[in-house]
């Protein structure tokens, strides 16, 4: 099953989802598509005009283009997802720290989809890490096609 991970660039979530036999939906795969198939030059050019227009489906026109650009990438992934895993209260440098409004909107879209969602706390010690891994393992094990 396709699992949307939040933060969408997290290696720990990507690895754990794959380890437990599911397909993680990550921003890296979509970026790869752009790098390979369209001319993407320097970082400011990563978001094309088409992306911003696509993002209108997920965020209003008054929302800054950066948020719409991010949602143009995350939105289709959320629509394709069968379930989602969200990490709560991560440290500042963990995940897409560019704009918290994008993260809020992504969580809102996940909630609106009504798919099974697992929200987990970022671990700070071994016991919490075991809880995190155990919850992910049980959540993914309980998903049925």
């Amino acid at each position: 099953m396709k699992i949307f991970i939040d933060p969408p660039n997290s290696m720990i979530l990507f690895d754990l989802v794959e380890r437990f036999g599911h397909e993680p939906l990550s921003s890296m795969a979509l970026i790869q598509e752009k790098v390979d198939n369209i001319e993407v030059d320097m970082p400011p050019m990563n978001v094309t005009l088409d992306d911003v227009v696509k993002g209108l489906k997920y965020a209003g026109v008054e929302v800054p283009s950066g948020i719409r650009g991010r949602l143009a990438i995350w939105g289709p992934m959320i629509e394709a997802a069968d379930a989602a895993i969200i990490i709560d209260n991560p440290p500042f440098s963990f995940g897409c720290v560019g704009c918290d409004r994008s993260n809020e909107l992504a969580k809102y879209r996940i909630k609106r989809r009504g798919i099974p969602v697992l929200t987990i706390e970022y671990p700070t010690n071994e016991e919490e890490a075991k809880t995190m891994v155990g919850q992910i393992k049980d959540f993914l094990g309980g998903l049925k096609e």
Binding site: P7, N9, S10, M11, I12, F14, D15, L16, E18, R19, S26, S27, M28, A29, L30, I31, Q32, E33, K34, V35, D36, N37, D41, M42, P43, P90, P91, S93, F94, G95, V97, E121, Y122, P123, N125, E126, E127, E128, A129, K130, T131, M132, V133, G134, Q135, K137
Partner: protein, 141 residues
């Protein structure tokens, strides 16, 4: 996702005794037509999708809970990202944060592999009902 070129990032957990050099040498022997670039945290592996499946199966069996992996958007050594050519490295803060957390994840995975399946289920957070909030407020009036 493109099937002709898959780039994956392999990161060694800080608790592991494996060095990036050992990992690179080993990954290079796992399949033909694999391009491997050594990095400070592990290595970058690049090949087609079918070969990558073989490589990842072998990496998972050989370094079960010591090496973690994710897909990378840009090719290895891409001038737009490679620091050797003064490229930007915007994802490094994220990698550093995850690298610090890997020993915890590794020990948790080791515990589950050893058959210790118990973990503390966190209490579900619920919003405070207005009635209870009112009672608390009145108690301290």
């Amino acid at each position: 996702m493109s099937q002709s070129r898959i780039t994956r990032l392999l990161m060694i957990s800080p608790d592991s005794m494996v060095t990036p050099e050992q990992l690179v040498r080993n990954v290079q022997t796992m399949a033909a037509n694999v391009s491997v670039k050594e990095t400070c945290y592990g290595c970058l592996v690049e090949c087609d999708a079918d070969t990558m499946k073989i490589v990842m199966e072998k990496v998972r069996s050989e370094y079960r809970n010591e090496v973690f992996s994710k897909v990378r958007g840009y090719p290895a050594g891409d001038p737009r990202r490679c620091r050797a050519q003064h490229g930007t490295r915007p994802g490094f803060a994220q990698l550093e944060a995850e690298w610090e957390c890997l020993p915890l994840i590794q020990s948790a995975l080791d515990a589950f592999d050893a058959g210790d399946n118990d973990y503390v289920v966190p209490a579900e957070k619920k919003p405070l009902p207005v009635k209870e909030l009112k009672e608390i407020s009145e108690a301290y009036r």
